[in-house]
Each structure stands twice: as C-alpha cells, then as structure tokens.
Amino acid sequence: MLTGPAILVFLTFVIVPVVMAAYYGFFRWKGFGPPTDFAGLQNYTSILTDPTFHDAVRHNAVIVVLSLVIQGPVAILFALLMNQKIRGRSVIRVLIFVPYVISEVIVGTGWALMMSDTGALNTLLGRIGLENLQHSWLADPSIAMGTLMLILTWKYVGFAVILMLAGLQSIPEELYEAAAIDGASFWQQQFRITLPLLGPTIRIWAFLSMIGALQLFDLVNIIWGQYVAATAGTSTMATYMYLNGHLAGNYGFGSAVAVVLFLISLVVALVYQRFVLRRDTEGALTGDSGRKGRKK
C-alpha cells in the first residue's frame, strides 16, 4: 500500500513513456490523435542513413573519449596534490566544486559571452600580444569542439577531483609507509599503490562520465542553439532529437531517435559493466537486489 503512489508516479512518467517511445518510433506521427500512419522501420532507416545524425554520433563519441582522456589524468593529478595535508584543504575542496553546482545553462551563458569573437578571451590574447592565437572559438568548426571540451572540463573536473579524493582517503596510509621503508620513490608509490587501489573509483567515475557525455544537451543547446550546433560541429544525438523531433513536430521520428540514443547508451553501459565494472559492482545495474556488501 505504501508503495502505491511511488509505483504509480514511476510507471506513469518513466516506464510508460519509455515503452511508448518504442511504439511511436514505428509511426509517421505529428503528435495529434492516435498514431495511425504505420511506417515500419522507415524512421530508423532515415535516422541511420542521415549524415547529420552520423555527425552527431561522432561528436558524442569524441566527447566521450576526450572527457575520459582529459579529465581523468587531470583529476587524478590534482587529487594527489590536494590529498597532501596542507592548510586550506577544505576551502580548496569547496571552491573547485563550485562549477559543478552551477547549472549548465548559467555556465553556457557565461562562457558563450567570454568566448565570443569580441569577447574577453580574444581581447586578453590581443592585449598580451598573442593576436595570432585569437580565434572564432565558437563558430569555427575546427575549433568549436575543443572549446566545448574546455568548458566541459571546467565544469566537471571538480566533480572528478572530489571523487578521486574520496577514493584516495580510503587507501591505508600504512601502505605508503611500508613502501617508503622499502625505498620506493614518490612516483613509484603512486603507480604501484595509488593507481591500482584507486581503480574502482576511476572505473565508476568513467562510467558516469561516459553516460553523461552520451546524453549531453543543455550546454550545446544554450551556447550554439539548435541550428548552429550542426554547422559548428558540436551537435549531439540529444540536440538532433530536439531539433528533428520536437521542434519539427515529428514525434514518431523523435521517439525513434530516443530509442536509438537509448540503445547506444545501453550497449555502452552493458559492455562497460560486463568487461570493466564487473568486479566492482556485481549486478548493480542489472537490478540485482542482492547488494549485500554495501558499505556506507
């Protein structure tokens, strides 16, 4: 009885829409009245043969990989430094978390102004005599992805650092003392002790980062808008869905995009869980209720 309301809300707004997406995806449908114009797999073939969708998928893939490659090492290095017992540690920890707390909309609005052609960055570069480094950071398709990665790193690296710090705190100090007695250098200690023991934290962070990168929408939509994103080379599957499904009023097509997006995320999640996460979280994502070894 107590579970009734929760189940009802959950089914209505999560499960039913997801199931309906699979159903609507087979129709040409403008979203009015019941869908009747059955189109079979036509929506899916249109999506999978659309070059702009291929671009979006490629952008998502680049964002996934670059997020891992850039943020991971940076976060681990910063966490190692911040993990030393220095004064002001707690203040530092709070301050590097600030970008994570601010919404993507605010981040996007502020950064868009800073990075515009006549914005603060280009002016600063000009003033210190680096005019040749001035660029059209947002509009130039060869640079825009780099700009996006810069902003994403700025926003999310603090979160990664906090996670890594929490992971570092759980490594027993005795290990380092023993290693030091055995004559291991600082870097040997980091590679032989820290990295292996930080493994579970890194793997979970990487998982969250990948799933987030696949769903990326807010930042791109705010900075580039729904039309410019494609030409600037920063469109994602989610912005493609918003533009071609919602704004165009093609709800059958939009649902089909959602299904494709979901399947891609699901495959990534399952493969990652099967091959990487397995030893850390036995069945956490497949809904196994037997998470007995849960530490709190």
Binding site: I7, A21, G31, G88, T201, F217, S265, G287, S289
Partner: protein, 294 residues
C-alpha cells in the same frame, strides 16, 4: 529538510572525515601554486560573470576583459526590480521544493516496504526502480512530453514536478533501502510491544533513524530539479511558468545586445544554488561520493 537534522550526522560522515585530522603542516610551495592556479581557473569565469554585471555595456564593448570602472549597480537593481527574475525564482523554488518533498515522501514509503517486508514481487519491484537508473530523462523526453500533454499539464509546474519526482525515485530507493534495512528488527518488536502500530513505528522510528540518507537523497533531488533545463524546455512555453534556467536562457536571447544586464541576471540566478551549496556542502560532496561508491 531542515538544518535541525544535522545532529543525526555521524551515521554517514563523509569519507574524508573518517581519519582524525592531525595538525596540518605547510606543504611545498609547488602544491600551493597548483592549488591557486586550479582555484583561479575554477573561479575565473564565475568572477567574469559577476564582475561583468557591475559594468556598463560600453565598458564591456571597449574592453571585454577589464574590471568595472566605475562600478555600476544599475544592472543588478534593474534585474532585482524586474518581475521576470522573481517569477522565475518563485517557479524554480516551487518546482525544486515540491520535487524534493515528493521524491522523499514517496521514496521513503516505497523503500520502507521493500526493505522491511517480505512479499511476492518484492525483488521485481526493486529491480523495476533500479532499472530506472538506466533511463535518463533525455531518452524519455519526447514521449514524456506527449504524456504530460495528454494529462493537460503543459505550461504548469505540476507537469515538471511529477516527472522530476519519478526520475528522482530510482536513486532515492537505491540509496534508502540499505539504510532502512539496517534498522534492527528488535526495534520494531519493541515498538509493537509498546503498542505502536506499523505506521506509528514508521513515523516515530524509521523516519528519524534514516534521516541522514533522507537528507542525501533530498539534496540530490533538489539540485537536479533546480538545474533542470531540458524538461522545462519541453513542457513550459509560457514565460509566466519559466524556471530559472529557462528564464536565464530567455533573458539572454531577449536582451542579447544588453550584455551587462544578461551577466547581472545570470549571476543573480547563481546565488540561490551557491547559498544552498555552501549550506549543505559536506552533505552534497559526501552524498555524491557515497552514492557513487555505493
């Protein structure tokens, strides 16, 4: 959701507090240099937004990267005097508070049953919520919009709040079930001997004892609702119902030539999130890392 519950803190101390703090030494200068650079990089763009609000448009055009000279407060006072800002602030507050209360109340009730009673379909119920973790809002947004429209809830905050509650439930249940399971059965027996009903036990024992977990999930639900952009973008088209993220985006495109005012609006809409964060900083950091480390 109040600060009076802080007394229940020791149950779930953040991981980095487990080790007793020793007297800290001054570290090497390199460490401090890196720390200062890192903090500068983190706060620079925020400072740009805040300081830019204190400048005039001609100051910004002449020198986009300069400091305010002279300092102008009219952008901020204009925004504070505008109804756009306060309407969006009010809507965001309603949306985030209602989502938090809804997710916590429904989540605690469901988790309580799953954690403490044996019944047919219990495993399936848990799996159902856990499966919800696999469906980010992005995936469901198109049919979700249609569902909300069918229910006649577009352009109403209820159309945003109910889905937000639904999408907050998986994390809530996953975090709360172990908390509730950890309450010893003897407590329940003792309570029933003393004449407490199941519901009485629930309200008098379970809710207070699980408070640390409840606060964590409440904070997660609040932040997600407060920062949510995609769902309101689909559901709300009437400016009178806009939440802050929509308000900022709308203001930025409406006054795109008035950069200073956009910056003032943007920095004012950061303030609530930053206050909320500074109040609950330990819990947010601990909750996020705890929830992830599982």
């Amino acid at each position: 959701m109040s600060t009076s519950t802080v007394s229940a803190a020791p149950r779930q101390a953040a991981p980095y507090e487990l080790r007793p703090t020793r007297k800290l030494a001054w570290g090497s200068p390199v460490t401090y240099l890196v720390a200062v650079v890192l903090i500068g990089a983190c706060l620079g763009p925020v400072a740009y937004i805040v300081l830019g609000g204190f400048r005039t448009n001609s100051q910004i055009t002449e020198d986009p990267a300069g400091l305010p000279s002279p300092w102008v407060v009219s952008n901020y006072t204009d925004v504070l005097a505008s109804s756009d800002f306060w309407v969006a602030m009010g809507n965001s507050t309603i949306s985030a508070v209602a989502t938090t209360v809804g997710a916590v109340v429904l989540g605690v009730m469901a988790s309580f049953v799953i954690a403490r009673y044996d019944f047919v379909g219990k495993g399936a119920m848990y799996s159902l919520f856990a499966a919800g973790l696999m469906f980010p809002m992005t995936v469901a947004i198109t049919p979700l919009y249609l569902m909300v429209r069918t229910l006649g809830l577009t352009n109403s905050l209820a159309g945003v709040v109910l889905p937000q509650i639904a999408f907050a439930l998986p994390v809530t249940v996953i975090i709360l079930v172990p908390f509730l399971r950890a309450i010893p059965a003897e407590l329940e027996e003792a309570a029933s001997i003393d004449g407490a009903s199941r519901l009485g036990f629930f309200w008098r024992m379970v809710v207070p004892l699980s408070m640390p977990g409840v606060i964590t999930v409440g904070i997660l639900a609040f932040i997600n609702a407060w920062n949510n952009y995609m769902l309101p973008l689909f559901i709300l088209s009437d400016p009178g119902t806009f939440t802050l993220p929509l308000g900022v985006a709308n203001f930025a495109s409406q006054y795109s030539v008035d950069t200073a005012r956009v910056l003032a609006f943007t920095s004012l809409s950061m303030v609530p999130a930053l206050i909320f964060f500074s109040l609950f900083e330990k819990r947010i950091v601990g909750g996020l890392t705890g929830a992830i480390k599982g």
